[in-house]
């Protein structure tokens, strides 16, 4: 199980940036497709909020993957003394 945790860790490390790139591409696509004026401002605002929120979440996914790769999840703490 420890091996699987580590290998999957690499997948999470890659997945984080992939999601962000995908979101940026979608944002550019949808903003360009919106009609000019307030509709475009609205679409830009929606996507700005989504990307703003997902950058730290995806960073968290990369850190999670890194911890998994480093074997930090081989044993989970069972009491506060281990934290």
């Amino acid at each position: 199980m420890s091996g699987l945790k580590k290998i999957l860790g690499l997948l999470w490390i890659v997945l984080g940036p992939v999601i962000i790139i995908f979101l940026f591409m979608q944002a550019a696509d949808k903003i360009a497709a919106a009609t000019e004026g307030i509709a475009r401002t609205n679409t830009t605002l929606q996507w700005a909020i989504i990307i703003l929120i997902f950058i730290p979440i995806c960073t968290g996914l990369v850190i999670f993957g890194y911890y998994a790769w480093k074997g930090e999840y081989d044993h989970l703490p069972e009491s506060s003394e281990e934290l």
């Binding site: 509709a39 609205n42 605002l45 929120i53 968290g60 989970l76 703490p77 009491s79 934290l83």
Partner: protein
């Protein structure tokens, strides 16, 4: 001995009642805004569709996705510094106060742009308060609960989000039925907001009489309260890695299962299957009524078999069953095809004439109500545009299907399928409070558990309608394509949970 046991039980019952009532009211407050968004838009927002959409975006996106997790951090920190009781009292006052004030805002026609700006500010306060409430209530109950029954006792807190939705729908439908549609749209919509203050006053009175959590009081007496809960939660690797695993292995999947079962199902039935407005809501209400006890059943069961596999089974069943369930919804409401072989009768056509908004072109809508041999009914409208410019190209006549009502057997089947989805919600949501509480130490519990919970629910869950619509806009997509978002996230969370989380059951929360 029996008397002591009775006192303990009574005390825990009071703790659950006080915590659950307040949390239920907070959910009620949060949902009535969503349920009345259209009327609020008409009364308090400018009639200019663009400006209105912009404010709406800020109110929905900012309150749900930014302010909620921020509230989790602000109030979580406060709860770990000064105690659970006073913090979740504060969130209740903020939520109740802002809801009451939304009901008092003068219309846009009276005060202009001040009206939508006030709505936006109060909505942000609501999001902030919601972010702080849940972690406090769950922690408070869990720290009172006896060992081995934490899942059972915290599951009562878990029922409140669903019951809050139920209460908000109930109060709105009742007020509308008593006042009539016109009075409700004019001023009656304010009543559900104003009623909130009565509920909040009762809840504050009850909560004021409660004592601080015994675990936190002990910690405080020993001078072991954390000096900086945010730093300890997110800068200390040993704890931060648990926050990450809680988010990606549990709350992320739980959030999408929750929103799919309780919101997307109803929205899909109404907007994609064109089910009648009331029918789609009654289906959800019946499903909630029958499924709500399962929060307590699964919470209690998790005390015996552990939290992990109940939650993960809920996610896995969602991954497997969502597409067949929604395919059934589509197949059972394909009235356009069904009428070719099953048309029983057709009403006299009703013709309405009007103008295309913003143009001089005429709009003629001809509606007939059709009944099928299996008892289903629906309205079919043919919309014809007569252009003012005689040389312009004549637009094609559009046929619109709406207000579909189901046959009795499909109605029951659809209720059962929505009920099944809400049962999945109870599987992932029932044990999660106990799971999160047991993952973190007392010193930083409120802070550490609140953030993953609100990112999982507010961001991953709250984005279900937006991302489902986005996927449905891709080339070659079908009405079911939007489901790939909850299916994908639930599958990812299932894998992470299965591999990285251990099966916890009644772990020590006293340290």
């Amino acid at each position: 001995m029996r008397s002591t046991e009775s006192n303990v039980t009574q005390s825990i019952t009071q703790v659950i009642a006080a915590s659950s009532l307040g949390t239920l009211i907070e959910w009620y407050d949060f949902y009535i805004f969503g349920s009345l968004a259209v009327i609020i838009g008409q009364q308090l927002f400018p009639s200019d569709a663009g400006a209105s959409a912009l404010i709406n975006t800020l109110a929905i996106f900012a309150a749900g996705f930014i302010v909620r997790p921020f509230g989790a951090l602000v109030f979580g920190r406060l709860g770990d510094l000064i105690g659970r009781k006073y913090t979740f009292l504060l969130t209740l006052v903020l939520m109740g106060g802002s809801t009451f004030l939304i009901g008092l805002i003068p219309s846009y026609s009276s005060i202009g742009y001040a009206a939508p700006i006030l709505v936006l500010i109060l909505r942000l306060v609501q999001g902030l308060a919601l972010g702080g409430e849940y972690g406090g209530a769950a922690t408070y109950v869990a720290e009172h609960a006896p060992v081995g029954r934490r899942g059972f006792f915290t599951s009562w807190i878990q029922t409140t989000a669903t019951l809050g939705l139920f209460l908000s729908l109930g109060v709105i439908v009742l007020t509308k039925n008593i006042l009539g549609a016109k009075n409700f749209a004019d001023w009656g919509w304010r009543i559900p907001f104003l009623v909130s203050i009565l509920l909040v006053v009762v809840s504050i009175y009850i909560r004021m009489k409660m004592h601080e959590s015994p675990v936190f009081s002990k910690l405080k007496a020993e001078g072991k309260v954390s000096a900086n809960p945010l730093k300890e939660s997110f800068q200390k690797k040993a704890n931060f890695k648990m926050v990450l695993v809680a988010l990606f292995g549990a709350t992320m999947g739980q959030g999408v299962v929750w929103y799919t079962g309780q919101f997307y199902a109803q929205s899909f039935l109404e907007n994609t299957c064109k089910l009648d407005f009331n029918e789609s809501r009654y289906i959800l209400l019946w499903a909630i009524v029958f499924a709500t006890p399962f929060f307590v059943i699964f919470g209690s069961w998790s005390d015996k078999v552990g939290r992990k596999w109940i939650m993960l089974t809920g996610m896995l069943l969602g991954v497997i069953c969502y597409r067949p369930i929604y395919q059934y919804f589509l197949d059972t409401t394909k009235v356009k095809e069904m009428q070719k072989t099953m048309l029983l009768s057709e009403s006299e056509p009703v013709v309405e004439r009007g103008l295309v908004p913003g143009k001089a072109d005429s709009l003629i809508t001809t509606t007939v109500t059709k009944t099928l041999t299996n008892g289903m009914t629906f309205k079919e409208s043919k919309v014809e545009i007569i252009t003012e410019d005689v040389l312009a190209e004549v637009p094609a006549v559009q046929t619109v299907i709406k207000d579909v009502t189901l046959s009795q057997s499909s109605y029951i089947m659809v209720i059962l399928l929505v009920f099944f989805q809400v049962v999945l919600v109870t599987m992932v949501y029932g044990p999660i409070a106990a799971f999160l509480v047991e993952l973190f130490p007392t010193q930083i519990r409120y802070t550490s558990m609140s953030l993953p919970y609100h990112i999982g629910n507010g961001v991953f869950g709250g984005l279900v309608p937006f991302i489902a619509t986005l996927i449905a806009s891709f080339q070659g997509s079908t009405p079911l394509s939007g489901l790939w978002y909850p299916i994908g996230i639930a599958a990812l969370s299932f894998i992470i949970g299965a591999v990285y989380i251990d099966n916890r059951r009644g772990d020590n929360v006293m340290d």
